[in-house]
Symmetry: C2
Subunit: 208 residues, 2 copies
Amino acid sequence: MERKLSISGIYRLALYSRHLYSLNKRRDEYISSQELGDAIGHTATQVRKDLTCYGSIGEPGKGYKIEKLNAVLSSIFGRDKIKNVILVGVGNLGMALIAYKGFKLHQFRIIAAFDKDIRKIGRRIEDVLVYDIQDLKAVIDGMDAQIAILAVPPSSAQEVIDMLVSSGIKAILNFAPIKVNVPDNIKLQNVDMSIELDRLYYLLKNPF
Amino acid sequence: MERKLSISGIYRLALYSRHLYSLNKRRDEYISSQELGDAIGHTATQVRKDLTCYGSIGEPGKGYKIEKLNAVLSSIFGRDKIKNVILVGVGNLGMALIAYKGFKLHQFRIIAAFDKDIRKIGRRIEDVLVYDIQDLKAVIDGMDAQIAILAVPPSSAQEVIDMLVSSGIKAILNFAPIKVNVPDNIKLQNVDMSIELDRLYYLLKNPF
DNA sequence: TGGTGTGAACCGATTCACAGCA
DNA sequence: TGCTGTGAATCGGTTCACACCA
């Protein structure tokens, strides 16, 4: 049980886990690092390096026992339990996120939404109730939610982040295209969709 | 005009560009690598290294002339012109993307949307007309669009990608959580929102 | 003095090469 | 023979240290 997994290693681990999920019903008992690598677009060596972080799961000459590997990865990503998530910002993006099937598929469940717009508060979107952002702390107090998705305009992002942190949220997925600050002990992941377009445009204009 | 910019370097360059935008009206004529670095969360050295890729823009003892640096970065990211983008998949996410202000802000404009659902075809969402995906090639033939945003379910992602490629699209921003294959000359950028949650969950459970 | 530009050193991640086990 | 596990080599990106310029 080493502790030597790069940031992109986590990414790959999640991809391995998903791939195993997708071939759940397959008859083969084993999968090789080569096949797993091909499936997600990485080298066999890379796969083996990543996987040895969690002990010697593979068997020389045979490969990785699918059931066993699946169990290990599922445990790492908590696939066996439902993970509660809250959403702040019920605009277009927020609503799309509530409806997004991908979260449910991986056992993430949005259990509450928050907004500051009176017209939205009290509404129910796909079973998710929208609360007043002012009641954030009170509402999530009894809920076991450590992760928040932030889909508010850039102008109020930092303010809401501070509220989340003081309400006990431990990890934030931020969609606001702005640099926000969080204390060291809070995990932050930014998704900036328009900057991805910038990158594509750059690659388009600067071929190499 | 070196050609030595890492993949994350492009990212940072876009951030520099945005920061300059945000202080457009500032009186200072110059900005130092230190200040620019602080603003986006990187070191001054990193900023200087990144910027020298595009020639000696800075002035020793003074810093970078904002106007000049802004012009260089704006040119790199085509901030001066409107860039046409098409969207495929008008579900919840697709609609949210059409409404997303961030794209407009950076001069990306969605000029056409496509879906295979009869009920959606012909509708107009925020000025964007939804076409039949079957008509993809014919519709975009006269349009100057090289970038596509893909927001379809995983099951049809690869099929649509192939259509996009054969219709002349050169870069794709893919929101479908699945590994898709494109020819070498096509630029691809994946955004997988649920895998970001996986990562956050991992960081939460494996503090280091 | 204050700040850029840049070769050299460093460091972390990936790849190579191969020992060892079924 | 086939495939894992892993030290060693390599690669690329970041940081350091400093020459140089206003």
